[in-house]
């Protein structure tokens, strides 16, 4: 989960800037931080002096002010406005740049759905929760959502873009640093919003070519880890419809694996692979739930069911009360 | 309180004007199609609403303060329409 940090200080790793744009954004942020610190120090010191000097009972002289109030008001209003306009300008210019992709940028399709990223490259290669990029090559992402709003967020690029159901949105960038960077879903999208994360890998040109060849060779075979495949199938078959929340029709599956489940006939069963497999394909009578789960036998292949089991097993991060 | 001088006459005249305007609006449906129908029918609607507010609601007799309050709602509605429009209408401009 660690990104290559620029520096570590007090247990905190600082953020990499993996593109020209990111460095510009950092510049503006630095300017803002500098200005803010200056303002706060100025006001803080000024106020402290005033507080001490003019505390009740102090013998400091308190003659009426000689300068006209309106002059003072105008001065600090205009001063503040000038500083603000400067930052408005810096931010707007960068924003407009980031909204205009360079001609000829490679296009990659990214689809978001509860709760995964589905990446498709021009050559047909497909990945989940991952994006591979070639160093110093601008790319444009075409983003779409199949359900709710998600947001594609790569801190190292200082960029984020919402995925809006019903329309396509785009973003572009030109990574100039190799490495693996975190990808987050930044727009709240339901139960597993926090797990809708992935990796953006920037590779040197030759490494990228090698990756593309090997990935291309797997055409369609989706060389995904079983867990990720399970996650995809889980989404595809709409399991989350009933296993997605507190008030859902079905029991929560998070943390289920390895626990003892009480069945409606009063007996207990250990939730291991076999139990899960059975539950998925034929249903088990879990105590406290109406047996409304459809049977998936004949619909879900065994190998797929296995992957789903792996996924359910991995959901055990959640402790069940 | 000052008893208003208004009598039946102006009210009925307003009503007649409103009905004429209604017939005019309704007639736009029979006209040959065109984008300009909407501005016309909305313009007439605005006129009608103005008549109702000015004479039936007696805005005519009210002090400036009340008129400002009556206008404020419309002004804020305008803000809502204009700034949201600024988004929708310029979305495709930037390429």
């Amino acid at each position: 989960m660690k990104e290559p940090p620029i520096a570590t200080f007090a247990g905190v790793s600082w953020l990499t800037a993996a593109s020209e744009h990111a460095k510009h954004v950092d510049d503006v942020i630095l300017g803002l931080v500098g200005t803010s610190v200056a303002v706060i120090l100025f006001l803080g010191i000024l106020t402290s002096v005033i507080l001490v000097r003019y505390r009740s009972g102090s013998r400091a002289k308190r003659p009426p002010l000689s300068l006209a109030t309106w002059k003072i008001e105008t001065a600090w209003t205009l001063g503040t406005l000038a500083i603000f306009l400067y930052f408005f300008w810096r931010g707007a210019v960068l924003y407009l740049d980031a909204a205009r992709p360079p001609p000829g940028a490679e296009v990659i399709d990214v689809t978001g759905r509860q709760w995964m990223w589905d990446t498709r490259y021009p050559d047909g290669t497909r990945e989940f929760n991952a994006l591979h990029l070639r160093l110093n090559t601008p790319v444009r992402l075409v983003l779409s959502s199949e359900d709710v709003i998600h947001s594609f967020f790569v801190p190292a690029l200082r960029l984020k873009q919402d995925l809006i159901p019903g329309k396509l949105t785009t973003m572009w960038f030109d990574p100039d640093r190799t490495g693996t960077f975190s990808l987050y879903c930044a727009q709240y999208c339901g139960s597993a919003h926090a797990s809708m994360i992935g990796k953006v890998t920037v590779l040197a040109p030759h490494e990228f070519d090698a990756w593309q060849r090997s990935a291309g060779a797997r055409t369609g075979a989706l060389a995904l880890a079983p867990e990720a495949r399970g996650r995809e199938l889980f989404a595809k078959f709409g399991c989350a419809r009933c296993h997605g929340g507190l008030n859902a029709a079905g029991p929560s599956l998070a943390g289920l694996y390895g626990t003892r489940v009480r069945l409606s006939d009063g007996t207990f069963a250990l939730a291991d692979d076999e139990y899960l497999h059975e539950a998925i394909l034929h249903g088990r009578k879990v105590a406290g739930f109406a047996p409304v789960m459809p049977t998936y036998s004949g619909i879900i292949r065994d190998s797929d069911a296995a992957d789903i089991c792996t996924y359910i097993e991995a959901m055990k991060t959640a402790a069940t009360p | 309180m000052r008893v208003s001088e208004s009598s039946v006459g102006p009210l009925v005249a307003t009503y007649v004007a409103l009905m004429v305007l209604l017939v005019m609006t309704a007639a736009t449906r029979a006209m040959p199609a065109g984008w300009w129908i909407t501005p016309i029918s909305l313009g007439i609607a605005a006129l009608k609403a103005f008549l109702v507010a000015y004479l039936f609601m007696r805005l005519r007799e009210e002090k400036a303060l009340v008129r400002i309050f009556a206008g404020a709602g419309l002004f804020w509605l305008l803000i809502l329409l204009v700034l949201t429009g600024a988004d929708y209408l310029t979305r495709s401009w930037y390429v």
């Binding site: 989960m1 247990g11 790793s13 953020l15 744009h21 503006v28 942020i29 803002l32 303002v39 706060i40 006001l43 005033i50 009740s56 009972g57 400091a60 308190r62 009426p64 209003t77 503040t80 406005l81 603000f84 408005f88 810096r90 931010g91 707007a92 960068l94 924003y95 980031a98 709003i149 801190p155 200082r158 960029l159 984020k160 919402d162 159901p165 987050y184 879903c185 709240y188 999208c189 339901g190 139960s191 926090a194 994360i197 929340g245 507190l246 008030n247 998070a254 991060t317 959640a318 402790a319 009360p321 | 404020a72 709602g73 809502l80 700034l83 988004d87 310029t90 979305r91 401009w93 930037y94």
Partner: protein, 532 residues
């Protein structure tokens, strides 16, 4: 300042039957009713905050499940915004102080005033119901299509609660507007009004013009959810962004509903405890009005990364910088007010200092967010969380606490224990910074909000933040103990224990039922302190 002194009738607290409280038309009693209700809601919102902070102390703490966490932040946001902070200063202190401060015997529509409180309680009951039967997991922003189609929480009851309480807010707003226009004491011209009255007036205008848009927006979302009559549904060509426009058209002005009354309170506190007129009174009054007005023009800054038109983005960013200018004016004027004053470090004044410091930091980080390219990075991260907690908790809640302490002698007729007051104020300040400053850094580093588990690299700062919340909790619990205590046991307060100006300090402590036996006549400007 005043031409007539008051004779005392029986105090407004005299009658003590439950009926006399629940059926009261006295603005002061209604203020007290609000005081109790919002304290109750604060406890609920704060308990949720406490649970969230425990969960976030570790990357995968396991106190709650993801669904439970999602319900926690939603209930925390909804309760804190609509059932605590929005009614806090306007409905508690506004109700109590406003008529007194303008020399009126009550608000213009006392019955409507009581009805507002019942609407508020009714809305709160619906919200509580929705929490008890399982909660809502949409976030306080209710974005569609998640809220309308995908969420399996009890969205309807929650939205209904906000809707009903919203009408309570509107009624309060109408009441205050008319009261300020029509019930000012003779001689109390607009530019003799205390800034607190100005701020409540401006707030009421926002309440009246913005809240109905929230009401219709929630109605549309609800119709889409229950009846399938959807106009945001992308499947029939609806646009989820339209929902966001409508929502933020209300919710950005709403953030000024939460801070303007606070600014009004701070002006009173700074003037009173510097024993000096507010510096630049006119500039202060106009900045209140311009914040209220310009505040309606900036809502699109919540939508910079949604694919809203870039031109709209630029315009909204520009306007956001503009609306920040009057806030800056206010900060400078407060500092200038202290200059050459005679400063007394009472508890309310400590809260005022805390407000100025934290509001400035929160406001300056608002400037970060208004800067387009910077917001693209910081949007929906903990930076935003830190920004608004600095303003809403560091600003809003501090001002509320300061105001409660300042007017406590008037409300209860007794003094609170000064030493404990100062200890609590300092504890809150320290705990607050510990809790929320690390969140700025977390946000910059990329930690998204509304994450119930998070990557390892964010651990250290989150742990600090959670520890801070503990300190903060202690700070908040102290007044909950000593204020009720002082209500019965505190030293008696005279009519004007602070030596403050303002008509409310002419009425008895606690005031009689209709405040003033004889309507005071005002002949001088506000904050007319004798020269030092």
């Amino acid at each position: 300042m005043i031409a007539s002194e008051q004779g005392d009738g029986p105090s407004y607290l005299q009658e003590s039957t439950v009926r006399s409280w629940l059926g009261t038309l006295d603005h002061k009693r209604i203020g007290i009713l609000y005081l109790f209700t919002i304290t109750f809601f604060f406890a609920i919102g704060a308990s949720a905050a406490a649970m969230m902070r425990i969960q976030l102390a570790y990357p995968a703490a396991g106190l709650v499940t993801s669904d439970a966490y999602n319900r926690l932040f939603t209930l925390h946001g909804v309760i804190m915004v609509w059932f605590f902070l929005i009614p806090s200063i306007p409905a508690v202190l506004g109700n109590f102080v406003l008529p007194l401060a303008i020399g009126a015997r009550d608000v213009a529509f006392p019955r409507l005033n009581l009805a507002s409180w019942y609407l508020f309680v009714g809305g709160g009951a619906l919200a509580l119901y929705s929490i008890l039967v399982g909660g809502v997991d949409t976030g306080w922003t209710f974005y569609t299509p998640y809220s309308s189609t995908y969420s399996n929480g009890h969205v309807m009851a929650m939205a209904g609660g906000i809707f009903v309480a919203g009408f309570g807010s509107i009624a309060t707003g109408i009441n205050f507007i008319v009261t300020v226009h029509k019930l000012r004491a003779p001689g109390l011209t607009w530019f003799r009004l205390p800034l607190f009255v100005w701020s409540i007036y401006a707030t009421s205008i926002i309440l009246v013009l913005a809240t109905p848009v929230l009401a219709i927006t929630l109605t549309l979302m609800a119709l889409e959810r229950v009846a399938g009559v959807g106009i945001f549904d992308p499947r029939i060509g609806g646009d989820p962004l339209l929902f966001q426009h409508l929502f933020w058209f209300y919710s950005h002005p709403a953030v000024y509903i939460m801070i303007l009354p606070g600014m009004g309170v701070i002006s009173e506190l700074v003037a009173c405890f510097s024993k000096k007129a507010v510096f630049g009174y006119h500039a202060m009054a106009f900045s209140i009005l311009s914040i209220a007005g310009l505040g309606f023009l900036v809502w699109g800054h919540h939508m910079f990364v949604t694919s809203q038109s870039v031109y709209a983005g630029v315009a909204f960013s520009f306007l956001s910088f503009l609306v920040a200018v009057p806030s800056a004016i206010k900060v400078f004027n407060w500092v200038a007010t202290m200059h050459r004053g005679a400063i007394e470090f009472t508890t309310p004044f400590l809260y005022a200092l805390g407000f100025i410091a934290l509001f400035t930091i929160g406001g300056l980080t608002g400037i970060f967010l208004a800067t387009l390219a910077v917001d693209v990075h910081l949007h929906d991260t903990f930076f935003v969380i830190a920004h608004f907690h600095y303003i809403m908790v560091g600003g809003g809640v501090m001002a509320y606490m300061g105001g409660i302490h300042y007017w406590w002698p008037k409300i209860s007729g007794r003094m609170y224990p000064e030493a404990w007051g100062r200890v609590a104020a300092v504890t809150i300040f320290v705990g607050f910074n510990l809790t929320f400053f690390p969140q700025y850094i977390l946000g910059y580093l990329g930690m998204p909000r509304r994450y119930w588990i998070y990557p390892e690299q964010f651990h250290t700062l989150n742990l600090v933040s959670s520890a801070g919340a503990l300190v903060l909790a202690i700070g908040y619990i102290l007044p909950l103990i000593y204020l009720p205590w002082s209500f019965f046991k505190g030293a008696r307060a005279g009519t004007n224990p602070w030596g403050a100006t303002g008509l409310e300090w002419l009425a008895a402590s606690p005031p009689a039922e209709h405040n003033f036996r004889e309507t005071p006549v005002v002949t001088r400007p506000a904050y007319d302190y004798p020269p030092l």
